[in-house]
């Protein structure tokens, strides 16, 4: 067991002299490692922090109908710099699937975050740069040790396209009593990159010479005022037709989520609903241009619920949990008139498994994922997955 309360300091601080006869000193004492001294405590078990942080995600997956695959899925570095108490920078650079080669399919190198925060007041602060869409549980909270399952939930893949990031600017702050918000204007999605199977997944422009004939608006209101409970609602709304100038298309998304923990029990749930305006015209136009009808839906919908139980008593230095998650997701929930819904895209999934934290920042994960679809022809995947994820 580690005790952090070993440095005892007492500091008498001089403040700006008050206007009235109040004391001019602010006595403060601290019982914890001072961050300026972290890494010098002499304990071999104390975390040693360097100038950057980050996370890694390493997987082995064995589908029942194919060979096993080993993948160094994510290598992510985070940087931060505080220019002053009111001005700071945060950056997140991600390498996916280990290798990036020109003109070859495979890995991706992504600048997922690079923004400057102008911290004005608790109620309103300004942010600009490459930012995360504040939608759902996972998009802003995706470090591998904080979610169960080797891969992110399906709903957070094909309904909410995590990691969803783009160039933009906006405001964020606290409304008091545990409520906080963000409201951003971001580069819009590209309608011609929507897909029947994976929805919005490829449609973000990622701040790379992004077209901004239209603007996407996104926001989130969340409540974090009670220990163990976090809830939020979020939205995205924007025209997406900068590559289809002869007609308008749009994407609207509404999402709500909650996380709860008490004692050893944890639960979370999320629902997301996507509305695509002009999907029929888009299908016609892309079909005429490419010869392939993309069969984009009017509406996409997905939900999941997850329960987990921490099985080791608190006196153990390690931690372990078992979990089960049920997901229901359909990337062709409603089709435009004249287009046929394909049953293989109406899916649900059971994911059961375990997470073992050898350290609070290092998680070994195991799960069995069983996806089912309404199709009697196209088989849905089942797989056994093992992963190692860590934060430093």
């Amino acid at each position: 067991m580690f005790l952090a309360c070993e440095v005892v300091a007492s500091i008498c601080l001089t403040a700006v002299p008050p206007a009235t006869g109040r004391p001019a000193t602010l006595p403060v004492s601290v019982q914890a490692p001072r961050l300026a001294q972290s890494g010098t405590s002499g304990s071999s078990n104390a975390p040693q922090s360097g100038p950057v942080s980050g996370y890694m995600d390493f997987h082995f997956s064995k589908p029942t109908d194919g060979p096993g695959v080993i993948d160094f899925h994510r290598f992510v570095l985070l940087f931060s710099h505080r220019f002053s108490d009111r001005l700071r920078f945060v950056g997140e650079l991600e390498l996916e699937h280990a290798v990036v080669e020109g003109l070859e399919p495979g890995g991706e190198l992504e600048l997922e975050q690079a923004y400057v925060d102008f911290l004005i007041r608790p109620e309103i602060n300004f942010r600009a740069g490459m930012i995360l869409a504040p939608v759902g549980i996972i998009n802003e909270r995706h470090e591998p040790p904080v979610f169960h399952g080797v891969e992110r939930p399906f709903v957070d893949t094909v309904i909410i396209p995590t990691t969803w990031f783009d160039a933009g600017a906006g405001v964020h702050g606290s409304l008091g009593r545990g409520f906080r918000y963000r409201l951003y204007a971001m580069a819009p999605l590209d309608a011609t990159e929507l897909r029947a199977e994976e929805g919005l997944r490829g449609a973000a422009q990622h701040g790379s010479e992004a077209q901004v004939r239209n603007v996407g608006w996104t926001g989130r209101l969340e409540y974090v005022g009670v220990r163990g409970l976090q809830t939020g609602v979020s939205f995205w709304r924007g025209n997406t037709g900068f590559n289809t100038p002869n007609f308008d298309t749009s994407v609207g998304l509404f999402e709500l989520d909650a996380r709860f923990s008490r004692g050893r029990f944890e639960a979370r749930g999320q629902h997301a609903h996507v509305f695509i305006g002009g999907a029929g015209e888009l299908n016609d136009a892309v079909g005429r241009t490419t010869g392939v009808n993309p069969n984009i839906a009017d509406q996409l919908r997905g939900s999941y619920v997850e329960a987990a139980y921490r099985v080791l008593p608190a006196r153990f230095p390690h931690d372990a949990a078992v979990f089960v998650r049920y997901e229901d997701f359909d990337t062709q929930f409603r089709m435009p008139a004249g287009f046929v819904k394909l049953p293989q895209f109406d899916r649900d999934a059971w994911v059961v498994g375990a997470t073992y934290w050898v350290d609070p920042d290092v998680a070994i994960k195991f799960d069995y994922s069983h996806v089912r679809s309404k199709s009697t022809v196209v088989p849905a995947p089942r797989s056994i997955n093992v992963g190692l994820g860590w934060w430093f």
Partner: protein, 125 residues
């Protein structure tokens, strides 16, 4: 080894502390939970001149607790199941002070902020 060496350092710092502030127990203890990416509670109200101890634990990774302004307090909150950070504050000047996570803790690190309100004592009749 760690306890002994740091205990000595702590004793020296305590000995150097003015006014013997360590002797007086805090009038109130506030338990704060740090978790990606929030403090709960994120708003803490104390009375001007009252001595309050913050006991801060983490539900996940290492966080930092930095109180902007008074003394530039900046301590490390140990990871889940690794103990707690304790900060005793006694602020004689009413106002609002911002506290924030000072240890980069993940993608939403920038949202991890809170407000410490120091309430003026009611004027004596």
């Amino acid at each position: 080894m760690r306890s002994a060496s740091l205990g000595l350092a702590g004793a020296l710092l305590m000995a150097a502390s003015p006014g013997g502030h360590q002797d007086r127990p805090p009038a109130r203890v506030v338990h704060v939970v740090a978790e990606r990416f929030s403090f709960t509670p994120s708003e803490i109200t104390i009375d001007e001149g009252s001595r309050v101890e913050l006991r801060i634990t983490s539900e996940d990774t290492t966080h930092g607790f930095r109180l902007i302004g008074p003394g530039d307090i900046d301590v490390e909150i140990p990871r889940r199941r690794r103990g707690e950070a304790r900060v005793v504050i006694e602020i004689g000047q009413p106002g609002e002070y911002i506290f924030e996570c000072s240890k980069l803790c993940g993608a939403g690190h920038g949202f991890m902020r809170g407000t410490l309100r120091v309430r003026a004592k009611a004027a004596a009749p």
